[in-house]
């Protein structure tokens, strides 16, 4: 057993290691907080922040989350909630991709948008937020637009990709790159009171369901806008999917699409 393991084992009275102990261990042994977190989980112990995860996610599962890498494409309405939930869940590395700055019209729904952050790059605010929530988790900011040209590079090494984009053209490109690389993609899209979620696993092809009967790059969100609650609902469904795919638990929504109507509170599942 390493000196770090001995130190951690001696601290864990009830199987939990507090954040302050995690910090002390990091300083004392000159290792990163992420490495301390991994050592705790490898010992079958639990960082105290995850004690309410324990009945849902085992130590081995928590370690798998820590060692996973999730690419979040788009850091607006969906992306803000997705990043928040992934960081709290304990996903070790989040690749956040978005070229935009926060503007005032983002304040109605985008979790990471604050008055102080207007004019700030969304990925910069995301990195700061994740650092505040869980310094054992790393968010890598990519201040650029996803496209067919840079897609393979941005997604390389990702365990799962989350589609939090705001246009259909780029969604097509994202779904195509994910198919090419064989990386699971959790798709979400919103407009007004309505949202949809599906997961493209290796071998699936969701592209036929992303576009419309016309040739537009935008959907009815151009008329309906996006209120605060719809991105929160759809993003949470997406993170549940990402978590299941990483852990190999449950039934991902592959070959199916969930369509949410929050106005009439109807949830339709369609077969793809």
């Amino acid at each position: 057993m390493s000196a770090l393991d001995t130190y951690l084992t001696a601290l864990a009275g009830d199987g939990l290691i507090s954040f302050s102990s995690q910090l002390d261990a990091s300083l004392h042994f000159d290792v990163s907080l992420a490495e301390v977190e991994a050592a705790i989980l490898e010992l079958g112990l639990c960082p105290a922040r995850y004690q309410r995860n324990r009945q849902t996610i085992s130590s081995a599962g928590q370690l798998a989350l820590l060692r996973s890498r999730v690419a979040v494409i788009g850091c607006g309405g969906l992306g803000g909630y997705v990043i928040e939930e992934l960081a709290r869940l304990g996903v070790g590395r989040i690749e956040a991709v978005d070229p935009d700055l926060f503007e005032e019209h983002n304040l109605n729904r985008q979790l990471l948008a604050t008055i102080a952050d207007l004019g700030e790059y969304k990925v910069t605010a995301a990195a700061r937020r994740v650092g505040e929530i869980n310094p054992a988790v790393m968010l890598v900011p990519h201040r650029l637009a996803f496209g067919a040209g840079n897609g393979s590079e941005l997604l390389a090494g990702a365990t799962v990709v989350v589609d939090a984009l705001d246009n259909i053209t780029t969604r097509f490109e994202l779904a195509a790159v994910c198919r090419e690389l064989g990386i699971p993609l959790v798709h979400g899209a919103i407009a007004g009171w309505y949202g949809q979620v599906t997961t493209q696993l290796a071998g699936d092809d969701i592209s036929g369901y992303l576009s419309g009967a016309g040739a537009g790059a935008k959907g009815v969100e151009t008329q309906l806008g996006n209120p605060s609650f719809t991105p929160a609902v759809v993003a949470s469904l997406q993170v549940a999917e990402a978590c299941k795919v990483i852990l190999g638990m449950g039934e991902p929504i592959s070959g199916r699409m969930l369509i949410c109507n929050l106005l009439e509170m109807e949830f339709e599942e369609i077969r793809l």
């Binding site: 309405g77 939090a164 407009a191 309505y194 419309g212 009967a213 790059a217 959907g219 009815v220 969100e221």
Partner: protein
């Protein structure tokens, strides 16, 4: 022939969400869309009897046609 037309989400505004309609043989999905006044550019998924179809699909007696708007926001 009779076709059940089910509209979803924003397409319900000002329209009947679900109704059984009478159409002549040879009617396509595009004909129904035009008759209901649903803008083609706003349409996302269209299903006939739970199967994904395109506008040129010819309908048959007893079909269930479901039309969803295109969602693209994030």
């Amino acid at each position: 022939m009779q076709v059940t037309v089910k509209l979803f989400a924003s397409f319900r505004t000002g329209r009947t969400p679900i109704e059984v309609c009478e159409y002549p043989p040879g009617t396509t999905v595009a004909d129904v869309v035009a008759e209901k006044g649903v803008p083609v550019g706003e349409i996302g998924i269209m299903l006939v009897n739970c199967r994904h179809v395109h506008l040129d699909r010819e309908l048959a007696d007893g079909d269930l046609l479901a039309i969803f708007p295109l969602l693209g926001g994030g």
